[in-house]
Symmetry: C2
Subunit: 319 residues, 2 copies
């Protein structure tokens, strides 16, 4: 589908509902809010409908007044726009509202997108939905202001890890350059997005590092977390996000594993590799899944047994 068709739909409809995916991140929130603000600025009724609270990390975003909490009723809209949403399931409860709208549009950058809407624009060469929304606003010739620029910058910066992931392209930087011109402060935004952490996360980091074990001459790093560790740090399960990278970033490590003890007989393994090891193949051996460099699985066993089974498989791939 040509971007022009999507733009026509946005131009021809006046009652537009925007859908970020469930478990919203900086890209879907920033992109959705930016689009809603730009459409509101040209006189349309544009709302972002969510079914969860905005994560505290994104509470600083301008334009949060565009957000509405989903209510189970029979309301509908003219045009539904799903943003950054790989498949219909990621619309959660709101899938019903999405389906009730007269036209449905799906704007995304995930190559696995299932094209679940009437009109689908998927560009997997883009780092983020934010880059696509920027192109749309530019093509529509609508005014971009500083608030919109902040939202799009946050969208792009989140999905590229602050221009550090391999999905960062020359175009990503070109878009960032244009957004910076609206008076953004890269230092302030980056500090909010990438630096500020809770005290409990810091304490959890220290506790998890204490469990570090290195195998295969430094190529394999194992870390552990359990309820006792979470409790001693005053942390919540969400604080475990990204902890596997402590192991992955150690010099010489190829595969890092974070083992989370869920109950007495259930261990969730989160795996990352750096250069060559296919952790998806390890995950799939244990009925899990993922990508070559990031995968996960659940092993129904106690910690020591799960660890030794997993280590044996990781060694096969690494050595």
């Amino acid at each position: 589908m040509d971007l022009k068709h999507i733009i026509n739909l946005l131009q021809q409809n006046d009652d537009i509902i925007i859908f970020p995916h469930v478990n919203p991140d900086g890209d879907c929130l920033g992109s959705s809010i930016a689009l809603a603000m730009a459409l509101t600025n040209i006189g349309k009724k544009a709302r972002v409908i969510v079914e969860e609270n905005v994560p505290s990390a994104y509470e600083f975003l301008p334009g949060l007044e565009c957000l509405e909490m989903y209510k189970e009723d029979k309301s509908n809209g003219q045009l539904a726009v799903a943003i950054d949403t790989g498949d219909r399931k990621r619309l959660g409860e709101r899938a019903r509202l999405f389906d009730r709208c007269k036209f449905t549009v799906n704007i995304d950058h995930h190559k696995t997108n299932t094209s679940f809407a009437d009109y689908n624009f998927i560009d997997a060469s883009k780092s983020s939905a934010g880059e696509i929304i920027f192109d749309i606003l530019k093509s529509m010739n609508v005014k971009i202001d500083k608030s919109i620029a902040v939202c799009l910058y946050v969208a792009i910066a989140t999905d590229t890890g602050g221009f550090r992931y391999s999905n960062t392209t020359a175009d990503t930087h070109r878009t960032a350059a244009k957004l910076m011109e609206y008076g953004l402060n890269a230092g302030e935004l980056s500090s909010r997005l990438f630096e500020v952490v809770s005290k409990s996360k810091v304490l959890l980091t220290a506790e998890v590092i204490k469990t570090l074990e290195i195998f295969s001459g430094g190529k394999i790093a194992f870390l552990e977390v359990n309820d006792k560790i979470l409790e001693s740090a005053g942390a919540v399960p969400g604080d475990c996000d990204g902890l596997v990278n402590i192991g992955r970033n150690i010099e010489g490590v190829e595969v890092a594993v974070l083992l989370k003890e869920i109950g007495n007989n259930e261990i969730k393994a989160n795996m990352r590799s750096n250069k060559y090891a296919d952790v998806a193949s390890i995950a799939s051996f244990f009925s899990g899944g993922g990508h070559a460099r990031a995968a996960g699985c659940t092993i129904y066993s106690h910690m020591n047994k799960a660890k030794s089974m997993l280590l044996a498989k990781v060694r096969e791939v690494v050595e």
Copy 2:
């Protein structure tokens, strides 16, 4: 001084010696090597003369064959070019060789640059020397290849903390976009520059977090390190670089202090603030110095006494 004059000098001279500053970082090394490679490619004799080994973090840079270790002799060159060097002292032992060259040039982005050369080009609006060298190569119309692009990308990424510091401008991103077009992989380069850490640094981080104390309702964070902690982590004093940011990045913290016990009666304090606290004023009270957001001092006392003296002063500034 107009950039054109600098370019004329580079074009008119064939024996060019390039000088990064002492204690070289990614910006001065990347910029110097990029310039040397580009000048060599157009048939000039161009060398980068250093007096220290390249830090291991930058050993992956292409073009290291342009580097020559400084020898104390009577040799000279036609044109000496200091890069990223705020004052003559930062040329170290090589200042004598610099002075013996027929013409001297100074290319820098530090606003405090002392203009110590015959020809000085200082542009403090640039994030890095790398951005200036890119402009020079573009204006000279010399060919940029992937190796040169990698060096300039590393220069810019290092000095902007990966496009995250406040010195990052729209121009910085525009230059990064042009460099990315030479086939760079942002993921690989960023991982080398920003993610890989030694195992001992990871262990040290955990040990230092254990010393975390929070005061003034969360606005002040104190961390400690001493020889015993370094030893238990197998770490070296250099591994302490940046540890003060563990405190600074905690949600709600305004001032973070890292106290390093040097001997029984000597405590080095490394201070950072986030938004408003002038830590330079605290440092100067204890005969130290620095900037409003980053400063340091030495207190000749034992740990507990130094901590309580410093805490009293930090409270005055924060509360």
